[in-house]
Amino acid sequence: MSSNKSGVLNTQEKERIRIPLPSIRDDETGYDYLSKLVSFVMSKPESLYIFDFSRCSTITHNGLVVLGGICNYLKRYEAGVTLTRGFGFGSFFTPIKVSFDISGMNSILKERLQVLGFWNYVFPDHGVARNENYIGYREHETVLEDSEIIAHLQDGWLTDEKVSLSEALKGEIISSIYEVFVNAYGHGLKDNPNHQSVISCGYYEPKEKSLSLSVLDLGGGIVNSVQSYTSISSKEAALKWALEVGNSTRTDSPPDVPRGLGFGILKDFIMVNGGVLRICTDSYMATIDSSGRYITEKVSGCIGGTLVSITVRCDDKHYRLVSEDKVPTGKYF
């Protein structure tokens, strides 16, 4: 991020930092860049930011939740500072904390961000989604009622007009996505010192028949939670511990109720579905290989939270694999 400092200007004692965003894809390079972006912004929350889209030809779900999450973080930071300093005369002249230069943005991306509802939350002046039930970008300030999450998925995302699926596969996809949200609410909204939102962005790609979803919370992250809960000092080991079936930091449940299945269920489903799962937290990213093992690798920056991204193949051909029940477990009933 240091190369971006060429655009730094001083305005009312605050740096104005212009960040030329590159194209951001759902791949290793994309996640690595996003981790650096979060690190950089969180190290300078007092600055003013302009995100410049002139070099960005595309930005996928993971990029949108991180960009939206950063904006959410900066706005909450600024609100906290204003509350501390009071609403004096000077606050009327506070420059805009986060803005976007979209003058060089290509028309396809411009339309896509509007349709996805990205600007609805982040910068409504750039055009909001007209359809309230759009599939796309959302910020969740409170824990949604379970029925609300499911209704949104069933009635907004996976309707018969948009996605052709058997009811059985639809139920399994909804169940997996619900596990992602439950994890994010547990780590992201409960006990989050910054009172930040959980951010989600998802969409269906008709050509690939795939559904992609990213859910971000900036509530400290899994590694942080595990290290507070256990005596594990290595960050990589802490992430691996969290991904093992049965391990849970119990952020959202009584201590005597068994938990720790969310990531295991997701992993099993994604593995047999032939999809993609990425979990990026702190300075590590975990993915699964073709045999269902987690591969962890270091990223260049640090996400002070947890980003879970999945791509699910919405194709009943793959559902038969799930039904064959290749996932080893005891059969008690």
């Binding site: 049965g246 005597d256 068994p258 005891g330």
Partner: protein, 114 residues
Amino acid sequence: MNPIIVKRLVGVNAISMSSGRKLRDEILREWAGSEKVVVNFEGVEVFASPFFNSGIGFLLKDNDISQLQGKLVFEGISDHGLRLLNLVIDNAIRFYADSENKTVAGLNEVKKDI
């Protein structure tokens, strides 16, 4: 003995811990006075692990798996729901075995008997 109709209890989504708690309370109400407790899932469309953790897995805190198998009968449950139920039970057995310093050998013994 009337079956517990899960749809009537929690609706078509059996997903949350609080819904699972409702099922558990209902099972425990029937537990002592009935030879079998029948849990009917007809019409339930979506399942998730928090529901089963709270509704069924928690019962293994005070009962072993053979007691559950002897008492509970599940009807009308989807393949996905049943797979999730078994996964939750597997995890709950390990969870309570560890907290009471039992060994995983107990789990393996249970599996042999099934």
